[in-house]
């Protein structure tokens, strides 16, 4: 029997306190700051009518959102690859590999993200991108390649910066994914490793056929959760002028002075993205739990 939801007196008091607080904040903004709300100015920064073609296209904020999504997807993909390798290092029988894996994780998790961003970004964009010729490649690519690059990554003019920022976020997230992979592998019973060993399977065969198929059910939900974290964490690359959602917000604010409208809109955009993904992850978890019995 499901209990009927009932409002206790304490719930009512808490609700009252929260509304009072929100009301007070609203009052301070309106009266104290003498803030002139101008919500009407916001929609044009989401979408605008392209007068040349007559189509609606994404404007500043929507472009920022799309950049955030692209950056997060690529960063998570790369981070998953790095994290998988480092995760295997973490459970390796070789002490050296375990040390390497551990050092990577601890180094990254115990440093302020902002510091890492500056170090990685300037190293990657100054030293690695020119060597790879990424900038020249993007600028000199054919028109179709350029439009593909724009669609999947970023327009040629900041393609190189986008790649650097993606790599930076990826290395950062990889430390967390490393731990997800390690925990997934170590969550498999010892007996499974031993049975595979006793049957004569090689390390690779054991992992591929016995351990990973079982571990993946326990890895996927937290991995999807890490993707959501990446979306939030990616806001940090605004400090290196990648035009993702947060950076676009700052630009917009500087141009219009619509501080609250702008940041509330951006909060809502992030929330729509992360909450819907959270719900999807919840579904995934339930599905995985069901299919594992």
């Amino acid at each position: 029997m499901r209990k009927k939801p009932k409002l206790t007196p304490l719930d009512a008091v808490i609700a009252l306190l929260i509304s009072a607080l929100l009301g007070y904040i609203g009052y301070r903004i309106n009266i104290g700051l003498q803030y002139k709300w101008n919500w009407g100015a916001i929609p044009q920064y989401l979408f605008r009518l392209d007068t040349a073609t007559g189509n609606w296209t994404a404007n500043l904020l929507m472009q920022g959102l799309l950049t955030t999504i692209r950056l997060s997807i690529w960063a998570t993909l790369i981070a998953t690859i790095i994290g998988t390798i480092a995760g295997f290092f973490r459970v390796s029988s070789s002490l050296f590999k375990r040390l390497l894996g551990r050092t990577f994780v601890e180094l990254i998790r115990n440093t302020p993200p902002l510091v890492l961003i500056f170090i990685f970004y300037f190293f990657v964009s100054d030293q690695i991108m020119p060597v790879l010729g990424v900038d020249d490649f993007a600028r000199n690519a054919s028109e179709t390649t350029q439009s593909l690059l724009t669609f999947f990554f970023a327009p040629p003019r900041f393609f190189s910066a986008f790649i650097s920022a993606t790599m930076t976020v990826a290395i950062f997230e990889a430390a967390y994914i490393t731990e997800i992979i390690r925990a997934g592998i170590q969550s498999i019973e010892k007996g499974q490793f031993e049975a595979a060993y006793a049957l004569g399977l090689s390390w690779r065969q054991k992992m591929q056929h016995v351990i990973l198929p079982q571990a993946i059910q326990r890895i996927l939900p937290p991995l999807a959760g890490q993707f959501i974290s990446t979306i939030k964490d990616s806001a940090i690359v605004s400090v290196i002028s990648i035009p993702e959602l947060c950076f676009q917000g700052m630009e917009l604010m500087a141009a219009t002075y619509l501080t609250f409208e702008c940041w509330i809109t951006i909060t809502v955009l992030y929330l729509v993205l992360t909450l819907s993904l959270s719900l999807a992850v919840e579904r995934l978890e339930i599905f995985m739990r069901r299919s594992s019995v």
Partner: protein, 255 residues
């Protein structure tokens, strides 16, 4: 011993364990200067109180545990740091665990096929043929497409035995294979083990089932604190154990 099929060289040693010792990182010495010889087609039953090192001894025989000193030679191959040697020994030594350790994400058939295909490099058809033969042998053909979770404990353990046999091992190790089973399922698993013993499989069996020891064993080893206390036939243990400690232990498990 009754009609043994491959018992021709029953006098030659297949496993030679010479003065092995094993101390775990936590300081527990599980094996202390332990030596024994196991001949082809012999069934050796290992008994002893909990924590006496029976599992550790068995696990050293296929390299699941590393020994600190001494030597183990299986079918002429030294179990040392050489990876090729170890792999060779892992292929020749089958192991059955107390907790079955079937792969839960695979059907019974795939559990038994897996190592045949990956290690023995058989085609799927060849592997399946042998798998079905083995399932007949352990009396469980109807469950080929079932997943381990759909099987009773006794059925799972019989599948686990079939899975180990699929590698055509020269030696089979059993670590308390019936200890996790409900009483009514112990018999069906012991039957399979007895059949194997009668066919001449070399077996090292850790068990408390003295009936099994009496029926099929050639040698019983009683160990305590990582050392052999007494070795003899099952009859010897039942009627004239030499050591006081053996007598006390037997009176405990037989009561």
């Amino acid at each position: 011993m009754q009609e043994k099929q491959f018992g021709a060289h029953s006098s030659s040693a297949i496993i030679a364990v010479d003065r092995i010792s094993k101390t775990f990182p936590n300081g527990v010495t599980a094996l202390n200067d332990f030596s024994t010889t196991i001949r082809r087609s012999e069934v050796v039953v290992v008994i002893g109180p909990s924590g006496s090192g029976k599992s550790t001894f068995l696990r050293c025989l296929n390299g699941l545990e590393e020994i600190d000193s001494g030597s183990i030679i299986v079918d002429g191959i030294a179990l040392d740091d050489n990876k090729k040697n170890r792999l060779e020994i892992r292929k020749e030594v089958g192991m059955v665990f107390q907790q079955f350790n079937l792969f839960p994400h695979m059907t019974v058939r795939d559990n038994i096929n897996l190592a045949q295909q990956l290690v023995r490099k058989k085609t799927k058809a060849e592997a399946t043929e042998m798998t079905m033969d083995l399932l007949r042998k352990v009396n469980i053909t109807e469950k080929a497409d079932a997943f381990p979770a759909q099987l009773s404990g006794g059925q799972q353990q019989r599948v686990a035995i079939a899975r180990a046999l699929a590698m055509m091992p020269k030696v089979m190790l059993f670590d308390e294979a019936t200890s996790a089973l409900d009483p009514e399922m112990i018999g069906e698993v012991l039957e399979v083990m007895k059949t194997l013993a009668r066919e001449g499989m070399t077996m090292v069996v850790v068990t408390h089932e003295m009936g099994f020891a009496r029926e099929v064993s050639d040698q019983v080893i009683f160990m305590e604190n990582g050392k052999i206390v007494e070795v003899g036939t099952a009859e010897h243990f039942f009627y004239q154990p030499r050591e006081e400690r053996t007598r006390i232990f037997l009176s405990q498990i037989l009561s």
